[in-house]
Symmetry: C2
Subunit: 206 residues, 2 copies
DNA sequence: CTTAACTCGTACACTTCTGTACGAGTTAGG
DNA sequence: CCTAACTCGTACAGAAGTGTACGAGTTAAG
């Protein structure tokens, strides 16, 4: 029972109201998993304005819901990367454009943590791989330009980006940081972190 | 029923075996909450080599266990701060000394996340306040020395430290980063992040 | 050595969530 | 209009965890 299988009698045939239900469910799941990684199926159904049985009709487990949500969210982020046009201009500017995507921070919420917990790190990694690869290329480009540091492993640099995005969301949610400053604080933090480091010893570059 | 009250007939009178049990419970809880924020009382008891009923004899809820563990861990970290001698020499060096404390990373695990989840952000904040204050002073000292940036709020800088410590632990646990490099990567990352930023606009400094 | 503290295992009532079954009402689509 | 798809609520069995009660055995401490 892989987390991806959900009843699809004929892949292309799905009625409009079913489509609507599924979207409502995923929206509700995004909110639910954002609040707690252990959201209940009942909570998701209620928030989606849908019966619990209907929910099970579309997704036969919480893992299936989570995986579908993960897939949809990563597709959205991939689109955001397209919109940010990561190949054009200085890499640092492209990164700033990407991070400034308005809805980006909201989508992150607790999804990542919940997915790792319930689907396992490997599953998340494989789903995340395309986006990860594009980010890694962006970092690599910045390193060749000389605007990003080369003394730390690229995967670690990407991890720090994710970690700081999550930290930022928490701080805003807890009221420790005004949401208006969020994007500015994040970009300043990341650009400082990524900037070439004085005592650079190039442990990983090329 | 505040999370701090546990049966203490006479505060100073506790038998040696009880003391031993409590320590074993907290050690087991540290491992358990590190693996999952929803560790079961049964799991903790089993890992501690103690009956589940005995566990309830000392802590009447999971929250009580978590709070006691949080208290003990923060006390340990406070001692580590003492040992790092944060008032001596350059602030950056003092921070490095503190981060290099061997057992420090292990203590962090999932404790923070579990505590926030089950005890609430306010409770964690109040328990954490003393340590937080000392770190804030260290950052402040570095800012006055000119070795730390002043364009970001101090609380946010501390938050980034915590976020990156957690990220580092995860990466090591998932095998993405050899544990031998952990402390070095962390210190390089943090020193780069804290270093004065070119376009510094001093939004918060004193 | 005596007592109170501490321990154990088992058992029980309670709650919460899961996943499925049933039967009937509603709605989209040809 | 007619059928299949979709929906609903209720209900049920099962799993898992919580917190407490009981009774009896063990151990530290004076």
């Amino acid at each position: 029972m892989t987390p991806t299988d959900r009843p699809r009698p004929t892949p292309t045939a799905r009625r409009a109201d079913a489509e609507r239900s599924i979207n409502a469910i995923l929206d509700a799941a995004a909110v639910g998993f954002g609040r707690s990684p252990d959201t209940t199926m009942a909570e998701i159904a209620r928030a989606a304005g849908v019966g619990r049985v209907t929910l099970y009709g579309h997704f036969n487990s919480r893992e299936a819901v989570l995986d579908a949500l993960l897939e949809r969210t990563l597709a959205e982020i991939d689109s955001a990367l397209d919109a940010a046009d990561p190949e054009t201009g200085p890499a640092a500017d492209a990164l700033v454009r990407f991070l400034a995507t308005p809805w980006l921070l909201d989508r992150f919420r607790g999804l990542y943590a919940a997915a790792v917990r319930h689907l396992g790190p490997d599953h998340v990694r494989s789903r995340h791989e395309p986006v990860f690869h594009r980010l890694e290329q962006l970092i690599s480009r910045g390193q060749h330009e000389g605007s990003f540091r080369t003394d730390l492993p690229r995967p670690w640099l990407i991890t720090t980006i994710y970690a700081l995005v999550h930290a930022l969301i928490s701080e805003v949610e807890e009221g420790n940081l005004p949401s208006g400053q969020a994007v500015d604080v994040l970009t300043r933090t990341l650009l400082g972190l990524l900037a070439p480091y004085p005592g650079q010893e190039r442990s990983d570059a090329g």
